[in-house]
Symmetry: C2
Subunit: 348 residues, 2 copies
Amino acid sequence: MRIEELDTPVAVVDLDRLSANIERLQAYLDKHGIDNRPHIKTHRIPAIAHMQMQAGAVGITCQTLSEAEVMCSAGISDIFLPYNLLSQTKLRRLMLLSRRARISVTADSAHTVEGYARAAAQEGTTLPVLIEMDGGYERCGVTTTAEVRALARQIDSAANLHFGGLMVYPCNPEANAFMTDSKMLLAQDGLAAERVSGGSSFVMWQAHEFTEFTEYRAGMYVYGDRNLVDAGAMTLDQCSYFVLATVVSRPTDDRVVLDSGSKSLAADSARKSSGHGLIIEYPEAELFKLSEEHAHVDVSRCTRKPEIGERVTVLANHCCVSNNLFSRLVGHRNGEVELEWPILAKGW
Amino acid sequence: MRIEELDTPVAVVDLDRLSANIERLQAYLDKHGIDNRPHIKTHRIPAIAHMQMQAGAVGITCQTLSEAEVMCSAGISDIFLPYNLLSQTKLRRLMLLSRRARISVTADSAHTVEGYARAAAQEGTTLPVLIEMDGGYERCGVTTTAEVRALARQIDSAANLHFGGLMVYPCNPEANAFMTDSKMLLAQDGLAAERVSGGSSFVMWQAHEFTEFTEYRAGMYVYGDRNLVDAGAMTLDQCSYFVLATVVSRPTDDRVVLDSGSKSLAADSARKSSGHGLIIEYPEAELFKLSEEHAHVDVSRCTRKPEIGERVTVLANHCCVSNNLFSRLVGHRNGEVELEWPILAKGW
């Protein structure tokens, strides 16, 4: 069966490109002696996680407990959860997971550390906790070395916690000094940051320039998307994940409508380009608006205009959120369908 | 069990408000003699569709075949699909559906009509086809009365199609004249538009001002969201759908992070307000950025700042796309959990 025979909208992955992307990052990180701990929030598919492990990853990263539970049940035995887990229910689930896999977590507050300490004591286990630091993008993470020191002391003094190191996401060059300074301060307390974990596919080829990183968490590199191409982190012909769509309407000569809307491409803006995705066959076209089941496309700059019924290949702005909208992913080689993967690791 | 005990992020619906919203629009449309054909793309839950039918709806509207298949299997017997359905697979599924429910569809091109004509002839059934007209928003739909006439003639002349009327979405006041002019032109051919179907919750209370409408398709009115409140179509205390979230980080005094990101609230922009949703307990707070599992919130204007671990109630910008990201919806009355609905009608 050819991918041209699949009904649209449908998410497809080029299996050769997928493998090449997995190998390419692994080789780069190996070369620089950085552990690879890929983030599976992009694909959510156990089979792809196993491909990453077989290529040499030391473990995986999951953003939610539900993702981790699915991956653990699929046989992945080393899982990092870089997320402040707070509720009693979540802490209980975390402890159940820790019976079946090597689990590590992060915290950026005393509140979070206290919860981990109580849960681990009750379970009678030792939980490695990394400290999340602000990488310069005003997301989660502590913002001063004093806070790093205080949290590290709190973790180290908890009977059932183990100080596991430092973590940032994403990370600008200035954050390297923050990590270096923090490590020096921690050394005064006799504490070593055995893991310093960085992330983001946008700057993955610069990971070695962050001299403190001992491990790296990239997610999108397996698929690629318009934002990564715009950022120069991947080329268009390295991208493996696309949404196949059909032209369902052509209200005017200069405007066509695809059946891939915000419920398949997601409404996330592009970081540099305008529009909601790139049509491979019509690079001059602009997806100027998404409604839920329609992409509205300006084709005025296209020499040949797409016809009603014609199929096109769309590169999403952000692959993680598009992939999240599908329940299945079709794998192919050169357009020949080889498999269909259920996208299993969903929810919280 | 109280909704305060549910783990976050979680989507909840106030069942009293939901019922009131369903009754309110039904009463308004009844008063004006307009058939109610609610769009289920918002909720995707058969039980809510049955509530709408019991309140007096003549049928429902689905945006995808998969939604229609689920609703049909759940006992809804009159379904309108205002979408150009093109592929052989989709046309075959449409014909199978037409054996089990009263189905009507739309077309805005000769290509689409030809497909319906072939499929209906092969099935030996008669398929009602409405013509989609541009309501003034440059989405799908023909843009001239001449095109309406040509499509109506094509539909009428196909042995197994029935000209079912006109359809617009959304619709500005000028489009009323387009519908009137089209009807007059069709009358010259002896064709009557038995249904003139309008839609959108944004202008639902103005439906009677569109003198041509015989039926109305609103979806979001059951839930409400920030866009509808901003537009004045619903009040905040009529909104029934919320995402419950937890403060998982407070990196600085003026910035907190919630566990509801673009994978639960969706990244759709607000039409008027800034930010990615409204926190009911902290209306001065601004959700200035969403990452996948985090909402980044500026709380500098809040007198009291939310604490780590505190739970908040978020009104999404666009309820349809948020609801689509969940697999379950928890129904409650005054915070007391009464049921949990699986969100079944997904996909294409």
